[in-house]
């Protein structure tokens, strides 16, 4: 009985924390972007502008929830929910600290890869159901980008999996007690970072949205809370990728003095900040460049990483 209660608290706790982080990131991102562009960013609503997300949510809920008459209505309505649901489901296997995990799945890494693949459906269906050619181009780009980057995203983690001998995220973290995997698996880390940016289609790899060419791409027909859900999904995606980098390469909750959860979130927010810095600093590559980097540079690199890691492990045995 008490086990069930603890589980329920864990489930809703993680859900609540994740949703608050996603909402708070609206403010964090706008503020940081502003500071990096020699502006201040939103600083009017509440102390330091921290209530800005609240104002945004009120605005977005009060907006007209409009579905274009040429759109495929059920799919159009369903698409934004998919991205949020798939990303939220991955947080279930995330080990925040020893004992703080919703489901200690022994195939956590595979589960994450599966769920992030399902996330493509959101973008692809959203763009398709909009009945708009720009949205469709955006959706096609998103699908191509996410499929090609998923390949070596999975491969880049394999080095970590080989070294720790487990697909279980908790076991992977525990295997990093002595040395964080960012040191022996630096190539894997770099590849995963790039793939993560592409996977969440964030700048500089935001080709599916590309405001300047595709007028917001797959979500150009979306408005109101449906548009808001895409945004929440994007911020949840950033949080997810940052948390995975922390878990897989930076020793998860390990760190001196401070409690484990604090260390986990410090590392996570470092990478969230890095994602925003990428957005502030880098221009968008051309589409063919993006795909070329993926197949011609990142895929061979991650394969090489696996071969070298495997070779060294065999030699060391």
């Amino acid at each position: 009985m008490s086990q069930t209660v603890i589980h329920l608290i864990m489930v809703f706790g993680v859900l609540g924390v994740m949703m608050s982080i996603a909402a708070g990131l609206i403010w964090v991102e706008r503020r940081l972007l502003g500071l990096w562009q020699d502006r201040y960013g939103p600083n009017r609503v509440g102390p330091l502008g921290m209530l800005q997300p609240l104002a945004d949510v009120i605005k977005i809920l009060a907006k007209e929830d409009w579905v274009p008459p040429f759109a495929d209505r059920p799919v159009f309505t369903l698409a934004p929910a998919i991205v949020v649901i798939t990303v939220l489901l991955v947080f279930a296997v995330m080990p925040f600290a020893p004992g703080i995990v919703v489901a200690d799945l022994n195939i956590g890494v595979l589960y994450f890869l599966a769920m992030s693949s399902l996330g493509v459906y959101s973008v692809a269906l959203g763009g398709w159901a909009s009945g708009n050619k720009y949205s469709l181009i955006g959706a096609l780009r998103a699908s191509a980008q996410m499929i090609s980057y998923e390949v070596f995203m999975g491969l880049s983690i394999m080095g970590v999996v080989m070294m720790s001998g487990s697909f279980d995220l908790r076991r992977i973290v525990e295997a990093q007690r002595g040395l964080w995997y960012i040191v022996p698996q630096f190539i894997g880390f770099a590849v995963f970072l790039v793939a993560g940016v592409a996977e969440t289609h964030r700048l500089p790899f935001d080709l599916p949205e590309a405001e300047s060419e595709l007028v917001a791409g797959f979500h150009s027909e979306y408005s109101g809370m449906k548009f808001g859900l895409f945004f929440v999904g994007e911020y949840l995606g950033i949080t997810l990728i940052s948390m995975l980098i922390t878990t897989l390469f930076l020793g998860g909750w390990y760190g001196p003095v401070l409690p484990p959860v604090v260390w986990f979130f410090i590392k996570t927010f470092f990478f969230i900040g890095f994602f925003i810095l990428l957005r502030a600093a880098l221009p968008r590559p051309r589409y063919d460049q993006l795909i070329r980097i993926g197949w011609k540079l990142m895929l061979p690199l991650s394969l090489l990483n696996i071969v070298v890691t495997g070779g060294i492990m065999l030699a060391a045995r």
Partner: protein, 179 residues
Amino acid sequence: MKGKKLLGMFSILKTLWVVFLHLFKRKVTVLYPEEKPYIPPRWRGRIILSRDPDGAERCVACYLCAAACPVDCISLQATEDEYGRRYPEFFRINFSRCIFCGYCEEACPTYAIQLTTDFEMSEYNRQNLVYEKEDLLISGTGKYHGYNFYKVAGLSIKGKEKGEGENELPPVDVKGLMP
């Protein structure tokens, strides 16, 4: 070629670092309501109607401002007082239309209508942007001190005949023979 591409990677890292350093740079934003920007004296802001040094309205209701206005935001009605002096019965400026071009000020023959440095005119109700004469009239002379149209106009009104004002010569007797 390959080396150049690898070096290009470092330029990306350098970009990230340079942008990160901007966190500590001075911000260019002027935090407006707390920090007022400099407004030049010739700023074309809220329109006012000024008065003579004697305190009487300068406006003679000649309609030149209304005619000059490119967006037709000025509306007025002329009338005369018992001294034969023209003044507007009502004078209305619709500031939701006004483009602050200053043509009315240029057209005004009596320096009555003037643009000021005030620009903080936000209203919650659009109708409140329609300013009546009592909203427009100020108690002072505005930018032109000491100017009194009827003292220099060579126009006769009750209490002042032609040529009796300052800087006015008596009217030429067109029927006289003197040069």
